[in-house]
Point group: C2
Chain length 532, copies 2
Amino acid sequence: MEPVLIDGAWRPATSVGSFRAADPASGAPLPCEFPVSAWDDVDAALAAASTAARALGKLPGSARAAFLARFADRIEARAGELADTAHRETGLPRAPRLADVELPRTTGQLRQAAAAAAEGSWSAPTIDTKANIRSILAPCGPVAVFGPNNFPFAFNSAAGGDLAAAVAAGCPVIAKANTSHPRTTQLLAEEACAAVRETGLPAATVQLVYRTGHEDGARLVADRRLGASAYTGSRTAGLALKAAADAAGIPIYLELSSVNPVLMLPGALAERLQACIDEFVDSSLLGAGQFCTNPGLVLLVGSAAAEEFIAGVKTKFEARPPAPLLSANVCASLDASVRTLRKAGARLLAGGEPGSPGVRYAHTLLRVEGDAFLADAEAFQTEAFGNAAVMVVCRDTAQLAACIGLLDGNLTGSVYSDTAGADDALYDRLVPLLRPKVGRLLDDKMPTGVAVSPAMNHGGPYPATGHPGFTAVGIPASLRRFGRLECFDNVRPARLPPLLRDANPGAGDTRAWRSIDGVWTRENVGAPLPRL
Amino acid sequence: MEPVLIDGAWRPATSVGSFRAADPASGAPLPCEFPVSAWDDVDAALAAASTAARALGKLPGSARAAFLARFADRIEARAGELADTAHRETGLPRAPRLADVELPRTTGQLRQAAAAAAEGSWSAPTIDTKANIRSILAPCGPVAVFGPNNFPFAFNSAAGGDLAAAVAAGCPVIAKANTSHPRTTQLLAEEACAAVRETGLPAATVQLVYRTGHEDGARLVADRRLGASAYTGSRTAGLALKAAADAAGIPIYLELSSVNPVLMLPGALAERLQACIDEFVDSSLLGAGQFCTNPGLVLLVGSAAAEEFIAGVKTKFEARPPAPLLSANVCASLDASVRTLRKAGARLLAGGEPGSPGVRYAHTLLRVEGDAFLADAEAFQTEAFGNAAVMVVCRDTAQLAACIGLLDGNLTGSVYSDTAGADDALYDRLVPLLRPKVGRLLDDKMPTGVAVSPAMNHGGPYPATGHPGFTAVGIPASLRRFGRLECFDNVRPARLPPLLRDANPGAGDTRAWRSIDGVWTRENVGAPLPRL
């Protein structure tokens, strides 16, 4: 049985069971056996993380930066083994996806987080010189990270965006592996552990358990030693954790399901039908549709062009061979969602059944008319995680507006409109309805690319996430989730955190931006203001 | 029966009962009869607020600023009647407290909020020019505000800090009056309503109901038409609302009870005993102790000086006549808390019983030894809202550290230390334990003043509030609670919100600060960077 990582040591788990991952390409179980941890492991991790949080708090941001950068280097040095392992556990293509796209994204995130930790602007140091009151976002304490199944590197609980943001903010991480790729997570945690040791951070800065009982998961997110949790995954499990964390008053950041509506306005179809088809199909089937931002719901106004669009998508769906899904669970859940949609009245245009070899599902296209959608909007927004999409064909633009009015909270919403202005009036009418329902609004672009940009919002209104004010992707914004606002009132200068002292502790472009008496500056308190 | 304010009209409530406030100076009921609203009133307010939110969203920040400034002017024009009414309903002194301190604070907040609304920096516009991704905090939708009993103006649901922040952020407010000062709230809402009309904002920008059943309150905070709630008051009622809001995934910001620990270190007592006594007593008894930030728990190391400190406080507590409390409820609750503390083993040094005339309570001082505190720390942290304080006398500094380790989340924590350095080592040992438990740390200063500073944190860890990352006081920071992160990815320039377009829409010092490619600036996109 594989060991867990507690307080810097790989040690046997206190286990209440075990599990193995499976190779989705063949369905065969993989050799390593992983423990289901009892509460004792979680309790030990929490105790060690509490101690580590205090020690981390005394170190400068540059120490966290050194770890994050070293961790990125170590991941790159083991890239081949990581890509092989992740490929075996997830069925995702070794190249380009894993080795050439996701792994560089992961190390890029770690390096961006390193820069943010060293520089410190994320913490929004705010100084009121007149009242001598100063405030800053301080690390909130240990963070539990629950990673999803669909990004074995970039959202991995032991190496992905949440870990990078939490550690950069000064918070030790207790990683809960996704049970479909435990070995990948173990390898990443090995590198994290080695990098922690090499850079002298507290031993419990990164810890790992693979799986716990549901009750122990709920107990973890509600434990008073924890500062916050970050969860990416299914709505059911996420909302159960949210209920436990909320009752204890401990922040939990969720990234749950989303159908990511796409409005294909008439002018766009008239202007560039084939491009609309191609862009939609490529985005919809990318990674077998297994993205949080997969476009799962297309809204159209009925017309000959709309029929051509749907027919074009159907043709491409039928022509492309399905890729392996991440796991048998994903396949079963996708099939169940397709059944739910059909039961509600959606018409099957393509796919709708499992494929082969291994764990696959035929690319699936469903269709529903606007009247039916309006009558049971909740059912038709059932997320079919994977390679399936629903087309909603509305009678007219008024019905389209009504459908948008019944949309639930989503991560993204995309609007395709013509470039000559024919759709402008309709855009102006529809987007005010769509905008409050989505975290990210896209023009003429599919939502599957989630750039690691300071302006990104990978978040959105409930139930896409648990709080509409935070993003899980984008640096430094994603660090703010793990900040606790600390105010210093009349505190003597030498006792202030370095970033709140009169002299900005950094140098040159690595000095933090601070708001001093309402002016954002990298200068010291008292320095002349830059000319505007 | 007094009317409610729904969608710009004062109209008869759909009521399920009625209530009157009482004059705490005499205990006599006041003449006006106010309705307990049925759900119909709340439902109508929510419907009107939804429409108003969309209309407000189309207006520039300067329109909200004009309203907030006009509202402040109107409050000043009616200052005499407001102070008389609030005095009658709360027993707080007409002057200086109500007329000369709280009313100017309230209009000052409204004017600061006006400036923040006009300028826009609160929304943290963030532009990534390379990826053409831009994000901003947008108004979250209608906000329900539940005001407390202890600030009839400055935290009033129809005129206080939460209303100012919500409207400045672009959110209509549904005010739920505190039932101990409904007439004051009504007068303020009259001025708000007139200012809304004069400045052309949507009629439902400010609405008012006085009271609802508990179930309807829970239904309100969980209604999907609502963007967020802000509640200041008792822990029991606040947590009931939080449970309802959390289950619906709608943010609720709470400002609950707090005992605001004060550490009196030995050197401070040795250096300036009388000043320590005077500052503590003045802060403790200010406003009959009815402040969220009232210092209710003093932690000391046993010594002759500590005994002198306690004796000095006791003498002053006994010498000063008690002031009227806000209501008979406050008095009953204070008495119950004192009983709880005594039952747990606290020794009564002064007070401990109701006084007269009207609603008063004798200034109450309790004492508990460190051993006893450690054995039942939760009981000894029972908030006694009003003019009561608990002294915790520890055996030694190790026991003091242990006591701090068992403190709950608080709004503030104060540390008095000597100025020559004798306490420095102890400060360095204790403050790392105290810091994560409090929102605002003070050196040599009592916590009762809560400056409206951009660096203020009137917030803190649970259960002082519901989320440690936000503040209820301080502009522009308090506006962030009411923001929803909106990202624009590849959106065409003319379709962007003005603050995200290349050209900064403001002029001079009223231009918003924006983060453009990681640089905070008031310039347009593409302008040369200021020299650092």
